[in-house]
């Protein structure tokens, strides 16, 4: 038997005789018990409680916001919220239906621009992995992921708004697409790179050209990953406000149909707006 001094031998009466008869005689099972009297156990329990308490404390702001939203916001939830225009300043009632339509239009346009561009770039990056061009594009995409969104808005202001003469949805869409593009490029590249190489070899072994391999094997197999990337990009773009400050700004009205401003849905008003900003806005959308 070992002569470890770490075991308590207080309960051991005699010497080796007892050890031979009872092989566990040298082990003090009291040492193995969990008990609050032992400093190690106490320390463990206190720390566990502390960790749990801190977790709850950290969650307090989240729950506070959620509660406020559900309680106060839920009281006002109604269909009118999604179908009506904003009320006049300092009045109650109305809704933000036009904002929803505006988001759908701008994000939709941005998606139409970025998805083909981004996915095809992802295909190129996954296929031509080591060329200098691929390295440069990948670097640029990674840098652009951290691009401040208001700068995208300023860029679109200079490039589109000044050239077109006014705020417009298309300018907003272009600003949003600058922000969506790097995400789509990088996620589609990694989704395509994750297609097992043996599948690509199988396609080439049958005699498929690179284009056929990419379109018929790589893209369909990588589609779930690519769709995830698109959804992430769309979710980001839908929540952006800064790039829209310089490009589409805002409107309190629905989209005008014939140069007239609709103050209420379905009811074109004969009142023409005299403000130049609003006139430009109406003119673009009606053209």
């Amino acid at each position: 038997m070992s002569k470890d001094n770490s075991f308590s031998r207080k309960e051991l009466n005699s010497a080796d005789n007892e050890l031979v008869q009872n092989p566990f005689a040298g082990v003090d099972f009291a040492e193995l018990e969990l008990s609050l009297y032992r400093p190690r156990t106490l320390f463990t329990i206190i720390l566990s409680c502390l960790v749990t308490v801190m977790t709850f404390v950290a969650l307090i702001p989240l729950f506070a916001v959620l509660w406020m939203l559900i309680w106060r916001g839920g009281q006002k939830l109604s269909l009118a919220l999604f179908t009506e225009l904003p009320p006049a300043p300092l009045e109650q009632g109305g809704g933000f239906g036009n904002a929803i339509i505006g988001t759908v239009i701008m994000v939709g346009l941005a998606t139409l621009i970025t998805v083909p561009l981004g996915v095809l770039t992802g295909v190129f990056l996954a296929q031509a992995q080591d060329s200098k061009l691929a390295g440069g594009v990948r670097f640029a995409a990674k840098v652009l992921t951290g691009f401040p969104s208001i700068l995208a808005g300023v860029f679109a202001y200079g490039a589109v708004v000044l050239a077109m003469g006014g705020f417009s949805a298309i300018a907003g869409a272009i600003a949003l697409s600058i922000l969506m593009l790097p995400t789509i490029i990088l996620t589609s590249e990694s989704a395509i790179a994750m297609v097992p190489a043996k599948m690509k070899e199988a396609a080439i072994g049958i005699g498929a050209t690179s284009a056929q391999t990419a379109l018929m094997v790589l893209l369909p197999t990588a589609m779930p990953g690519i769709l995830t990337g698109i959804m992430l990009a769309v979710a980001r773009a839908a929540g952006e406000t800064a790039p829209l400050l310089f490009t589409a700004l805002f409107s309190n009205y629905w989209i005008a149909t014939n140069g007239q401003v609709e103050l209420m849905p379905g009811c074109p008003s004969p009142i023409r707006s005299n403000s130049p900003g609003q006139r430009r806005w109406c003119l673009f959308l009606s053209s």
């Binding site: 070899e201 080439i204 005699g207 018929m216």
Partner: protein, 282 residues
């Protein structure tokens, strides 16, 4: 001596008019002569000349790292995918060097198909897997007939005929490998290259694939790489033994002996071959 063959392509609309030969003729379908083969600065293979004869099974055996798969992949230009690949020599398919500048490697692979070690069906339905080759060649005839024919030739039809729309990945390993074989024969290539096709399979599936190879031999020319000497004895007509040469400091493969399988396994001429076959090194 050239038999009249039409491939599956848009011009002939998929008719195959290849008559089954009455006996094994002596054509050399692929004459592979490699003087030196490099991956970058690494010399992988030297001095290897192997003729692949028509309607026969030629096996490449040898220890690991001796270049068997490299030589096999040369036969249909799959090594083009590897960066830094270059070689001196020629690979003549029916007399024409397929590494000539004027030859399109994609077209070569439609005549010389390949089955890989790990089964690698595409992530689509069984039908689409087999029809893939037909689609890339813009085949205009009845796909369902060709798919059925290919699956029957691969001895898989009975097992999958009522679940053609299930994913190719839902089959067992042996079935997936037979699916890959069906996919390779759907376009009626002339030569089938198989790189250790049974190494990832259990013995029963291996047996089935070996029987399949013996049937396919009548219609196609087959070259296989195998680690399994008994398999080479069972299926191969001709065998080439490659070994590793470490004298120059690197590991360069070369052909030690080539001949009829029976003669190679019963009475090998070279000492390295004798040692390998009798199991002194593997």
């Amino acid at each position: 001596m050239d038999t009249e063959v039409s491939r599956v392509d848009s011009k002939t609309n998929g008719t195959t008019s290849r008559p089954l030969p009455a006996e094994n003729t002596d054509d050399v379908v692929i004459d592979c002569k490699i003087n030196e083969l490099y991956y970058g600065t690494f010399k992988a293979v030297r001095d290897t000349q192997i003729p692949i004869k028509k309607n026969s099974i030629t096996a490449f055996i040898g220890p690991s790292g001796c270049g068997k798969s490299t030589v096999l992949r040369c036969l249909n230009r799959m090594n083009d995918l590897v960066r830094g690949f270059r070689f001196q020599g020629h690979v003549k398919y029916r007399g024409k060097d397929i590494y000539d500048r004027s030859i399109d490697p994609v077209a070569v692979r439609r005549y010389i198909g390949m089955v890989f070690q790990q089964p690698n069906p595409f992530a689509t339905s069984i039908f689409n897997n087999v029809a893939f080759g037909l689609r890339i060649n813009k085949f205009k005839g009845s796909k369902i007939e060709k798919v059925e024919q290919a699956l029957k030739r691969a001895a898989l039809w009975d097992e999958v005929k009522d679940k053609l729309n299930n994913s190719g990945l839902s089959l067992s390993g042996g079935q997936q490998q037979r699916l890959c074989i069906a996919r390779a024969v759907a376009t009626d290539p002339e030569v089938l290259l198989m790189d250790e096709p049974c190494s990832a399979l259990d013995p029963i599936a291996t047996r089935k694939i070996e029987e399949l190879m013996l049937e396919l031999k009548n219609r196609y020319t087959i070259a296989i790489v195998t680690h399994n000497l008994q398999q080479a004895q069972r299926v191969a007509d001709k065998t080439g033994f490659l070994y590793v040469d470490t004298t120059a400091g690197g590991r360069t493969g070369y052909l030690v002996e080539y001949g009829d399988s029976k003669q190679m396994f019963e009475d090998p001429k070279e000492k390295h071959t004798q040692d390998y076959i009798r199991g002194e090194f593997s």
